[in-house]
């Protein structure tokens, strides 16, 4: 039997993905389906005076053209934001309506004005050009820092474009600490706007069955049940049992496929209007750029107070967060509970205060994107710490060491609401320093200098809070949903196992990791286990995948369901072996009478459960158990990444000379998959720090609306990472796992920016550190050196 517990089992799903046999939403075609094309706003901000659809309706192949008015007439609601943030005056955030098709105004380029539905996609696209929209242009603003000036006013419901003014932490304690500080370090930071760019664009097919009054929505969702809940309860007013959401193979999400979007809502609604004709839409890449929810976009001022030994006394953070033109499904939670709560980092900073003003601008909505709030927090903390070390002439590793929460101090209550459960921060630091040969960096720097290059090294000691639970806590903080997870573990009569999970895989490899988990628990070959996900018609209600929660929360639910199977199996085994239930042990696939060699395999027990000819009294037939798991706390993955860069001052090109990562994800099931997650996360973090930026111009036009201008990292932009791992199991979940999906994207940007600022000798450079920005600074440095 393979040791499936911890091993580099090849991904079960890759057989179909690598041979082109995946079933992505756009691969699906329903009989008689029609095609939807959206008429999108080309203006960033305008009043819609009229929409004339007559010519479009006459065009060949066109079946229908709908506008916001048609949806209003049908009582369709607004796309809600599912997390209520209470501001510092005790008021709920401003929640202006967000209709799937606009009713009065357009508020960003790409906003949805009308939908044209035709027999072919080309016909729909042709006809969409015939829809005449009479706009009255308004001034637009894309800049979060300017939004609070109040003009232009984007929503009447949010005066001054302020969605909320929120704070966390003890301001008085922070002010007190600052007044006594030996030194204060300060930074102005910009966390650049990112566009997610999942490989598979969003897509949807809505299909209504007039015979049963049931709807099926095929969609690229990371969380089908959540999407169903939002669609049914808030937008379309449908009973949940009449709606099935199928999210088959999904090609990457990074958060952007969590939300309930206009397009899938319209397809579902329109199918009923069209008497059950399926309505299909697949985003073109340019639509993905303009209308997927974007990420980040913060402007921050931060200050750190220290004593003479470099101990942190207090941290003060003031942030403006850009939410875009409308509130996406979880937009309010990202710059608050997923951001402010992480500002203690790995450190014992006794007092932290954070103020966040969230604003509306004429840009695509901003919501969670790989890391969601935690990259923004880590960027503040780790840039700040590095700055302080430089200000105080201390070694950046040493200043961190002096401030780490120590292993014997857990559980550790931070001043920003979280209770860290476990960690070995110094151990990760030491390993990372050894891996990169930190002590000989000076020599490497000299060598680079001899070759006319600037060398820098940068550390990032990140922590994240994953799992986003328990439900009671998140509920108290304003979440509109619970954040548990479900699993059903079904033995089939002949011994194979089907696992139904509420988690959703869109690249993470759950079909393999979860199968390993179950195979290990039952002592059976991993091939005997298949994992089913992504279909509300097949799985129990589940919360889906985001926030690196799948193994920690979803995996724990699976383990609980496995344990129930084993408990029931013991009763059946006791009967067959004529022993007492208490004497039955389960180990390596067999139920055994303790201290004897009398045993039954779990396969035999499963068979007996379905063919219960000789069966214990009072026990139900079947071997099929469901569990719901609500964690006791967040999990706290943490680690240290170190980047080393070499800059060519002549061109400003930054070469990443080395990269080490030492992560603590708790228990690891499949190291290969975990390393893959780390690699991908770092790639996205490097993209953010060096290359990527969603840019709107003054008129609110998206300048980076294609790959000609939006710069994704490519293989030759990336180094070979060296990944190490330490394992401090999560003490409060049965798997011991903490989560690994976002770590790289969280850790990488500050590591790289700290290395670049180290090489350049200035903090005055913003992300992305493009070649021209670097060149301008390096040129100045060379000129200085020459003097």
């Amino acid at each position: 039997m393979p040791d499936s517990g911890v091993s580099r089992v090849l991904r079960k799903e890759d057989q179909r993905f690598l041979t082109g046999r995946g079933h992505y939403t756009d691969d699906l075609n329903r009989p008689g389906q029609l095609h939807a094309v959206f008429v999108r706003s080309e203006m960033a901000h305008a009043t819609v005076k009229s929409v004339s659809t007559d010519a479009a309706k006459q065009a060949p192949g066109v079946v229908a053209v709908f506008t916001g008015q048609d949806m209003a007439d049908d009582g369709v609601g607004s796309l809600p934001c599912g997390w209520v943030v209470t501001d510092k005056h005790g008021e709920a955030h401003k929640a202006p309506p967000h209709f799937p098709l606009v009713r009065d105004k357009v508020r960003y380029v790409g906003d949805h004005v009308a939908v044209v539905i035709a027999e072919t996609r080309a016909q729909a696209a042709d006809a969409a050009e015939l829809v005449e929209v009479d706009y009255e242009g308004l001034d637009a603003n894309a800049d979060p820092a300017k939004a609070l000036e109040g003009a232009p006013q984007i929503h009447d419901e949010a005066p001054g474009n302020l969605c909320f003014d929120w704070e966390l932490g003890d301001k008085a304690a922070v002010d007190e600490a600052f007044s006594k500080a030996h030194h204060v370090s300060r930074l102005e930071l910009r966390n650049n706007r990112l566009i997610p760019n999942a490989l598979e664009p969003r897509a949807a097919i809505g299909e209504y069955d007039p015979g049963t009054d049931e709807y099926t929505l095929y969609s690229t969702s990371q969380n089908p049940h959540l999407l169903r809940l939002i669609l049914c309860a808030f937008v379309l007013n449908l009973p949940e049992h009449k709606v099935r959401i199928v999210a088959p193979d999904v090609g990457g999400g990074f958060g952007s496929k969590i939300y309930c979007y206009a397009e899938e809502t319209v397809c579902t609604w329109a199918s009923k209007k069209l008497n059950g004709k399926p309505v299909k839409w697949t985003a073109e890449r340019s639509e993905s750029f303009s209308s997927d929810a974007h990420g980040r976009d913060h402007v921050t001022h931060a200050e750190l107070a220290l004593d003479e030994n470099g101990k942190f006394l207090a941290l003060k953070v003031d942030t403006i967060a850009n939410l875009g033109a409308y509130l996406s499904s979880f937009a309010t939670a990202v710059p608050t509970y997923l951001y402010g709560t992480l500002l203690a980092g790995q450190y014992k900073t006794p007092a932290v205060h954070c103020n966040v003003r969230a604003v509306f601008t004429n840009t695509a909505p901003v919501d969670a994107y790989r890391g969601a709030g935690r990259p923004e927090a880590t960027y503040v903390v780790e840039r700040m710490v590095e700055r302080a070390a430089r200000d105080m002439n201390m070694d950046p590793a040493e200043i961190r060491r002096r401030n780490f929460v120590q292993p014997d101090e857990f559980p550790y209550q931070t001043p920003v609401a979280l209770t860290y459960d476990s960690g070995q921060y110094e151990k990760a630091l030491d390993e990372a320093l050894a891996m990169i040969d930190y002590k000989n960096f000076g020599q490497r720097r000299q060598e680079s200098e001899r070759n006319g290059k600037l060398r820098g090294i940068g550390l990032s000691a990140y922590i994240e809070a994953c799992g986003i639970a328990p439900s009671q806590v998140v509920g108290a903080l304003g979440a509109g949903v619970g954040l548990w997870e479900s699993a059903q573990v079904r033995f089939n009569a002949t011994g194979s196992i089907s696992v139904f999970t509420g988690s959703h895989s869109h690249g993470q490899g759950h079909e393999t990791t979860f199968a390993q988990l179950v195979a290990d628990r039952f002592g059976v070959p991993v091939e005997n286990v298949d994992v089913v996900h992504g279909d509300t018609g097949r799985i129990p209600m589940g919360m889906g995948t985001y926030g690196s929660r799948s193994l920690a929360v979803g995996g724990s639910a699976i383990v609980r369901a496995c344990d129930k199977v084993i408990e029931k199996g013991k009763k059946i085994a006791a009967h067959l072996l004529e022993a007492s239930v208490d004497d039955i042990e389960f180990d390596s696939g067999n139920f055994r009478v303790a201290g004897t060699d009398k045993q039954k395999s779990i396969g035999e027990i499963a068979f007996t459960a379905y063919v219960p000819h000789n069966y214990p009294e009072g026990v139900e037939p079947g071997l099929d158990e469901t569990a719901f798991y609500d964690p006791a706390n967040f999990t706290y993955p943490a680690g240290v990444h170190i980047a080393e860069v070499e800059i060519d001052p002549e061109t400003g090109t930054t070469r990443i000379a080395d990269w080490v990562a030492v992560d603590d994800f708790g228990k690891v099931i499949n190291p290969m998959i975990v390393e893959g997650q780390v690699h991908g996360g770092i790639a996205q973090g490097i993209g953010q720090a060096l290359l990527e930026e969603g840019v709107y111009d003054e008129a609110g036009q998206l300048v980076t609306g294609s790959y000609q201008d939006y710069c994704m990292p490519r293989a030759d932009d990336l180094p070979s990472y060296r990944v190490g791992m330490i394992e401090t199991p999560c003490p409060h979940n049965p798997v011991g796992a903490k989560g690994c999906g976002e770590a790289g994207a969280i850790a990488a940007p500050p590591a790289l920016m700290n290395a670049i600022t180290d090489a350049l000798g200035t903090e005055e450079i913003s992300m992305p550190a493009t070649r021209e920005k670097v060149w301008r600074i390096a040129r100045g440095r060379l000129a200085q050196a020459a003097e």
Partner: protein
């Protein structure tokens, strides 16, 4: 994309006739420039005349001491050609540095020069070597071929047949790529050979241009050091999200020096 007719002629004459008969027709070679614009509905030709079926337009040969590259020869074929690698290795490297493998396996030299994108690589190679463009009607020296932004000397209905490159004594190409599109932010091709000393710059301005001062300096002293201190004025250079005119002007100097350093016999 709008609807269009599709033709695949098997000779240049037939292609020319199709162009003459269809006013809004467009030639297509690799399609890597034309198809994206059609998909975005920015171009709407009534008919597409596919050059892919004209055998004469394909391939690389030596002729009278020159290297002749057929118009529908892909970038990948040029990069991998034994003849090009042996005679003008800088040209093989230039072709091998265009875009990515997909682009190099579809895009053609004829399509590239006919399009005359200001950031394309081939214009620097053609001007930097003093090549000759042969069409179905005439021969055009590279210096006269590239006229302005997306504008060439090609007349209505004129088709690029092949490009003839003189073999230089030394040539080098240095490219500073746009990290998003992989086109040239600045690309400089330098050579010394039958056409004298040439320094051609692409990416930096609205159209490929030569830098006389650098050519003079290199004529006296073929070394990177000879170029030190020579600058190009930034006022007519491109400025966009990826690079300011000032940065481009600076990079012209850097890339010119690196091209000389990279130049091989």
């Amino acid at each position: 994309m709008y609807g269009f007719e599709y033709h695949k002629p098997s000779s240049l004459d037939e292609a020319a006739k199709l162009l003459a008969d269809n006013e809004e027709a467009s030639l297509i070679a690799g399609g890597h420039t034309l198809l994206p614009t059609m998909k975005q509905r920015l171009a709407a030709p009534s008919a597409i005349v596919d050059l892919g079926g004209i055998a004469d337009l394909k391939g690389i040969r030596e002729e009278g001491g020159n290297i002749v590259v057929g118009a529908i020869t892909t970038h990948d074929a040029v990069a991998g050609s034994d003849v090009v690698q042996a005679k003008i290795p800088a040209m093989a490297r230039l072709a091998g540095g265009i875009g990515d493998p997909q682009v190099r396996n579809r895009g053609t030299i004829g399509g590239s020069i006919a399009n005359n994108d200001p950031a394309a690589d081939y214009p620097a190679g053609l001007v930097g070597l003093g090549a000759i463009v042969r069409t179905n009607k005439r021969e055009i020296p590279a210096d006269d071929f590239f006229v302005a932004l997306f504008e060439t000397a090609l007349e209505e209905g004129e088709i690029v047949k092949e490009v003839s490159f003189p073999v230089p004594e030394k040539a080098g190409y240095a490219k500073f790529h746009n990290p998003a599109s992989r086109y040239a932010i600045v690309g400089v091709f330098v050579s010394r050979g039958p056409q004298g000393v040439r320094v051609a710059v692409t990416g930096a301005g609205p159209c490929v241009f030569r830098v006389k001062e650098m050519e003079d300096a290199l004529s006296g002293n073929w070394s990177a050091d000879a170029l030190k201190g020579i600058t190009v004025p930034e006022d007519e250079l491109n400025a966009d999200l990826h690079a300011s005119a000032e940065y481009r002007a600076h990079l012209v100097g850097v890339m010119a020096r690196r091209a000389v350093q990279a130049a091989t016999a």
